[in-house]
């Protein structure tokens, strides 16, 4: 075998190995859970979005704001579900903000708290402990504070968050915000905007 033939064989073998590995490690598909408290919109909508976010991630805050405006314009055509993907190695308050959100969801106040927490992200992200701010937000949206504190102290809420992050990782998520629009993965708000244009020209 001459050098050129060897080169072609090497290219084919290496490319085949990578394609095989990609197939073997292929990420799981997103599954919509219609019973989830962290969902809003029409469950029969033609566009279903699952968003994996970290509440302290600035790009996620931008994405949440964009999606909120878009949802207000198309309330019957969208179904949105939020999943947790706290980037704890990058954001110190990623886990505690997710915990408050999960505890709010258990009292049916997820979206109300989300509407407080996300627009004020830049302020609480700077704090050493954002908990007093979150407690005040929780009171403001009418959450039962005793139930909230019991929830925060339990391992259950943390487990839900960690399980969702593991699920996200098994779906190939590495950064936030990551969206699954009718099952198709898009990462970042720019790609989200591009993808939504295909459904709402």
């Amino acid at each position: 075998m001459n050098k050129l033939q060897t080169s072609l064989v090497i290219i084919l073998v290496l490319a085949g190995a990578v394609v095989g590995a990609k197939f073997y490690f292929a990420p799981k598909k997103a599954v919509i859970n219609l019973q989830m408290a962290r969902a809003k919109g029409n469950p029969n909508a033609r566009v279903k979005i699952v968003e994996f976010i970290d509440f302290q991630c600035p790009a996620c805050a931008f994405g949440v704001g964009y999606l909120k405006t878009f949802f207000d314009q198309h309330p019957n055509d969208l179904y949105i579900q939020v999943r947790y993907f706290p980037l704890t190695n990058m954001h110190h308050h990623a886990m505690i903000s997710a915990l408050y959100s999960e505890c709010a969801a258990r009292q049916g106040k997820f979206w109300a708290l989300d509407d407080q927490m996300i627009p004020q992200q830049q302020q609480w992200a700077q704090l050493i402990s954002p908990e007093p701010v979150f407690q005040a937000m929780a009171s403001q949206v009418g959450m039962n504070i005793d139930q909230l504190n019991t929830c925060l102290a339990s391992d259950d809420a943390r487990k839900v968050i960690n399980d969702e992050k593991s699920l996200g990782q098994s779906m190939g998520i590495t950064s936030t915000p990551t969206y699954f629009i009718n099952g198709k993965m898009v990462v970042g708000t720019k790609s989200l905007q591009d993808e939504l244009k295909a459904y709402f020209p």
């Binding site: 590495t174 950064s175 993965m185 898009v186 790609s191 591009d194």
Partner: protein
């Protein structure tokens, strides 16, 4: 020495490309978008094609096959990295991580630009000293002179 440089440069490209190739291309697309340099249409194409170019250049440099051409390819790639990261730093883009190695390794752009510049110099030196860099290579097997 230059053989070690060659293996190191090849390994660098193999690791960085595999991190991207084994992850959904959308993750690398997000990294490309953060640099705000390419038009939208090119971003998707680049996210899908660029890791394969990195992978093949890395494999050929590592194996020492068509080494001078592979090293020239590596110089072009390092030049691109230095330019892309440099312009992002000059423009003050808010990048927490360069995204160069997929999700396997997180490096700040300030560190990466130094690393890429050094690698560029090493690659250039390896090309200048090709006859020494070609030890333990397939080129040496096919062209022993």
């Amino acid at each position: 020495m230059f053989t070690i440089f060659r293996f190191a440069i090849g390994s660098l490209f193999l690791i960085s490309s595999l991190g991207k190739l084994l992850s959904p291309y959308q993750n690398f697309l997000y990294v490309i978008q953060a640099y705000q340099l390419l038009p939208s249409g090119f971003e998707v194409l680049t996210a899908q094609v660029f890791p394969w170019i990195e992978f093949l250049v890395g494999a050929f440099v590592f194996l020492g096959l068509w080494t001078p051409w592979a090293l020239r390819g590596a110089i072009v790639l390092f030049g691109i990295f230095v330019f892309v990261v440099g312009q992002a730093l000059l423009r003050g883009l808010p990048l927490e991580n360069c995204g160069c190695f997929g999700e396997w390794i997180h490096l700040k752009p300030q560190i990466v630009i130094v690393m890429d510049s050094l690698s560029l110099v090493l690659t250039f030196l390896s090309l200048r000293n090709y006859t020494r860099a070609k030890r333990f290579s397939l080129d040496a097997y096919f062209d022993p002179k």
